[in-house]
Amino acid sequence: MDGTTSLSGPLDPAPDAGYPDPPPRMGFFTDTSVCIGCKACEVACKEWNEVPATGLDLLGTSFDNTGALTANSWRHVAFVEQRRPDFRWLMMSDVCKHCTHAACLDVCPTGALFRTEFGTVVIQEDICNGCGYCIPACPYGVVDQREGDGRAWKCTLCYDRVGVGKTPACAQACPTESIQFGPLDELRERAERRIERLHSDGVPEARLYGHDPGDGVGGDGAFFLLLDEPEVYGLPPDPVVTTRDLPRMWRRAGLAALTVVAAVAAAFAGCSSPGRRS
């Protein structure tokens, strides 16, 4: 292990992942205050990435018939109908967060999950063997195994498109620029300005989510502007990358291993050898 900064805290992830002179870190800023819930992002993503259709289930959860981010839905538009006391209808296009400290990536035992030079987190479909470890590791519930395929799938932030200077499919399609793509630094500045604007326009409940490099995942490469608590949209309120505790875990395992050794030694040490006894 390479010191704790590789596991938590602010960090530029691309150099940390072996790219000495990377391009700017790219990401998404999803501004839910202008999301119209059209789901163009879901479809554009599927068209570009040739993601299978999910099937026909009327979920009865407002206009959300996708349900969640899954192996077959890399963008998911959430719909929340609220009375507080005025009625309002929140919509939010969720996506992989491309964490600075990505648990999925760190726990992946094959290197299928890797950090790209753009600082994004991608599953390499030619490598993944479907061990499934990344799935419970993700604090956002993003990664998922595809039935009948066995591998894990999620948003690639259109690594292939970004690599040739194109905008990811979802962001390109988004009619209202709710999904914005660009260098993360710029997006963060833009988001700060947007928040200030909304606060001065009388929308005090507007808040950013996942933008802070000091948060539990070192900041998200895909962050959001929300109009309510994160959990209302199905997001964890204060996610922490599990590997932040990994050094302590290994230490506890080391101690446990010593305990095991000690127990075995004690078990044998105390009793006389059967050979000698007989």
Binding site: M1, D2, S6, A14, D16, A17, G18, Y19, P20, C38, K39, A40, E42, V43, A44, E47, W48, L105, D106, G111, A112, L113, F114, R115, T116, E117, V122, Q124, E125, D126, I127, C158, Y159, D160, R161, G163, V164, K166, T167, A169, Q172, A173, C174, P175
Partner: protein, 189 residues
């Protein structure tokens, strides 16, 4: 592939010798990822098109590879849509490449209980025959007062709001010459 290159391509070796000891990025990158490029880059041709759904008229770029549509996405040059598409527009490739699309003429004879196959040329000839016959059978030359009518009410048509202007022009021109009046489209609906 020599043993040396084989070992050099082993990510563990790259971890040990390169800039990425934790195997997070550069060392773990696969051959597939190294080859990856957007398929829009390798398209044989790009057609500038317009979305077929609603009347906003969003620009589309249609990428073609080996005679097949490989991608349809918004045209950033369009001052109308600025490269954006709605879910329907974004699903255009799915529409035009759908395996559910009918590609053969189907024919159902009167009182038939199933579809039958029919050659396109035969179908065209049969339809032309029926147009001529229906027109003759229902032709009206003049009204009761002898004023010209020059028409048939025996042939009708509905459609055209998703068709091109050029197509509508020929439809109207031909039907008008045939004396068919009841030529309508979605604009009435």
């Amino acid at each position: 592939m020599g043993v040396r290159t084989w070992i050099a391509s082993w990510p563990v070796y790259r971890q040990l010798t390169g800039t990425d000891p934790l195997g997070r990025g550069a060392a773990a990158k696969s051959a597939g990822s190294s080859r990856l490029t957007a398929r829009t880059e390798t398209a044989d041709s790009v057609a500038r098109s317009v979305c077929p759904y609603c009347a906003v008229g969003c620009g589309q770029r249609v990428y073609v590879k080996d005679g097949q549509v490989s991608q349809i996405e918004g045209d950033p040059d369009s001052p109308i849509s600025r490269g954006r598409l709605c879910p329907k527009g974004a699903a255009s490739k799915n529409l035009v490449t759908s395996e559910l699309r009918q590609q053969k003429v189907r024919y159902r004879r009167p009182y038939g209980t199933e579809w039958e196959e029919l050659d396109l040329a035969t179908a065209m000839d049969m339809i032309a025959d029926r147009v001529v016959a229906a027109r003759d059978a229902t032709w009206e030359d003049v009204d009761a007062q002898g004023r010209p009518l020059h028409r048939t009410l025996g042939v009708a048509s509905l459609g055209g709001a998703t068709l091109d202007n050029e197509e509508n022009y020929l439809i109207k021109k031909l039907f008008t010459a045939l004396g068919a009046l009841q030529i309508e489209n979605q604009a009435r609906i």
